[in-house]
């Protein structure tokens, strides 16, 4: 047997148990969000969309990036959250924060119920089941026109001022600040989950679910819990969209949205939380710029740019950045 080295020379357990830590990235992002508010007031509605997309992408990152749940139907939670918040405002109470909580609860519950069924499958079967699940809910919402408004969407509700103080204004200032505050809360919540025992177990399931089972972990139960948490956060994103736009359309349940949020994560980088932030900013900004350059063929431009990014950074922008930083540090350490 070898002798143990000096304990101080051994790796620190904190770095060996890799968790997500707050650092300069969060400070920079807060500065960027503040700068947008003061310097680009004309872009506040677009920036609000970015904040909502980040929340949605974070929710997908928990399911896909941490737990390895391959889904093409994540919009189902976004849409359910949106409709829940819309109905809540229409029939119960117009207070926005309780609306978000109700939406999270309804979407999370749907995550539990649908998860018990779909998460028994893996790979392509799981992808197809999640897609089918979202399509069924989409068609259900479409057929219940009298309640959901069908193609016209759910509208005609109002939202009270946030905390009874900040009224939603025409310029989108309140909507922007409100969305960024919700984003900060969701980011911190996702970080807590990612850093917890459960977050580690989710990564373990993604890495080797069979072995996880043989460690005594009920894998299906844990995946359902993760799916519900992820669904609840996606529901918050949908609810936020419903509150700031005062409209919930069928497009909130559509395959396009599920595809878009997946592209966002692929662009930014999966399983890092930061990837959701960077991916959303790049995706929404690229879409906006591409549409401004060519209103008719903007999807072609967007597609080309995405291919370019994925080609140059297969692990996403954050993954590429991490790899470069790691190489730089490695070179620095060389004598």
């Amino acid at each position: 047997m070898r002798e143990l080295r000096d304990p101080s020379a051994l790796p620190e357990m904190r770095s060996a148990l890799r968790t997500h830590r707050l650092g300069w990235f969060e400070v920079v992002m807060l500065a960027v969000f503040a700068a947008v508010y003061y310097l680009l007031p004309g872009y506040l509605p677009l920036a609000t969309q970015v904040a909502i997309m980040i929340i949605f992408a974070i929710s997908l990152d928990l399911a896909l990036g941490y737990g390895g749940i391959e889904t093409l139907g994540h919009a189902v939670f976004y849409g359910i959250g949106g409709y829940a918040a819309g109905f809540y405002a229409l029939y119960v109470w117009q207070e926005p924060i309780s609306g978000l909580l109700v939406a999270a609860l309804v979407a999370g519950l749907f995550g539990v119920l649908s998860g018990i069924v779909v998460l028994r499958a893996k790979g392509l079967t799981l992808v197809m089941l999640t897609l089918a699940c979202a399509t069924m809910v989409h068609e259900f919402a479409n057929s219940m026109r009298a309640i959901t408004g069908g193609d016209d969407g759910l509208s005609g509700y109002r939202i009270d001022p946030v905390l009874g103080l900040f009224r939603f204004d025409l310029f989108g200032r309140t909507a922007y600040v409100y969305s960024v505050c919700v984003l900060i809360v969701v980011f911190l919540l996702a970080r807590i989950v990612a850093n917890s025992n459960f977050g580690l177990v989710a990564r373990g399931i993604r890495s080797n679910s069979q072995r996880m089972q043989l460690l005594g972990v009920p894998v299906l139960n844990r995946l359902v819990l993760l799916y519900a948490v992820s669904g609840a956060l996606a529901g918050i994103a949908g609810a936020l969209s419903a509150q700031v736009t005062k409209l919930v359309g069928l497009n909130t349940l559509a395959f396009t949205l599920s595809g878009n949020v997946l592209i966002v994560l692929i662009l930014g980088g999966i399983g890092r939380l930061y990837g959701a932030v960077i991916g959303s900013i790049v995706f929404v900004a690229l879409s906006d710029r591409a549409a401004a350059i060519d209103p008719f063929n903007w999807l072609f431009i967007l597609g080309g740019l995405i291919v370019l990014v994925v080609w140059l950074a297969p692990d996403g922008i954050v993954g590429r950045f991490s790899a470069l930083t790691w190489q730089f540090r490695k070179q620095e350490r060389k004598p």
């Binding site: 047997m1 620190e12 357990m13 807590i192 890495s207 460690l215």
Partner: protein, 249 residues
């Protein structure tokens, strides 16, 4: 008297092919038991039956005197049954410390805990450090499992199973593919296991088996040919004919 592990008349067939024929086996508390036999004798099948990967056609499996035949794999682990794999089955994208942490949170039943930063859990960190130090893996704590040598990965396999604090440990060819020096490290590790753990080892490395096991069962064509002390097995002509040959005679 209840045994740590007792197998009664276990049978398993794949279609018309009988791979486990009426196998009975007992492991007392703290046993060091080896299961040997030629390739295709049904050794790994037996481990898969005990751990619940496969369902037997007939027979009973008792852990600490309680029938576990109807329990899921996860439930059997919770009852104190752990195993290693013939081919490494680790969390290769995670660090060594994370691998062990997974086994520990699974054993503690804190795997559904949604709050609390795991890297700030001082008690857990101390346990991982101690566990890794005992297995000479402390220096590799922050390394990805995929970056370790094959020999080190075999040790991590054992580390994972031991982190579950099992009553019964099933080792499926732990020395397969190991260099001689790594086999010595493994043997030292196995000999240092506490007597609270009963060990059933399947192994083709007869030097390791004879140096470690106190009891040996020889399995041939899915049947128990003989159970006895290493000396009795070594001297048995039938065992020499079908498996050991002259070298260990």
């Amino acid at each position: 008297m209840s045994f740590a592990l007792e197998i009664r008349n276990l049978k398993k067939a794949f279609g018309g092919l009988e791979v486990t024929r009426d196998v009975s086996l007992t492991l007392a508390g703290g046993a060091r038991h080896a299961l040997i036999g030629p390739n295709g004798a049904g050794k790994s099948t037996l481990v898969n039956l005990i751990t619940g990967v496969l369902k037997p056609n007939a027979g009973e499996i008792l852990l600490g005197g309680r029938e576990i035949g109807n329990l899921s794999q996860a439930e059997r682990v919770k009852r104190g049954l752990a195993r290693t794999f013939q081919v490494n089955s680790l969390f290769s994208t995670m660090t060594v410390a994370e691998n062990v942490a997974l086994a520990m949170v699974a054993h503690d039943a804190t795997d559904a805990r949604l709050v609390g930063d795991i890297s700030k859990d001082a008690k857990l960190s101390a346990r991982i450090e101690e566990h890794l130090a005992r297995l000479n893996l402390a220096e590799a704590a922050d390394r990805l499992v995929s970056s370790l040598s094959y020999g080190q990965q075999r040790i991590v396999e054992v580390a994972l199973a031991l982190a579950l604090q099992p009553n019964v440990l099933l080792l499926d060819e732990p020395a397969a593919g190991l260099a001689a020096k790594d086999v010595e490290i493994l043997l030292g590790l196995l000999k240092g296991l506490p007597t609270t753990v009963s060990v059933l080892i399947i192994e083709h490395d007869m030097d390791l088996v004879f140096r470690f096991a106190e009891t040996i069962t020889v399995l041939v064509d899915g049947q128990v040919l003989l159970t006895g002390s290493p000396d009795a097995v070594r001297k048995d002509q039938r065992v020499r004919d079908v498996y050991l040959g002259r070298r260990h005679g």
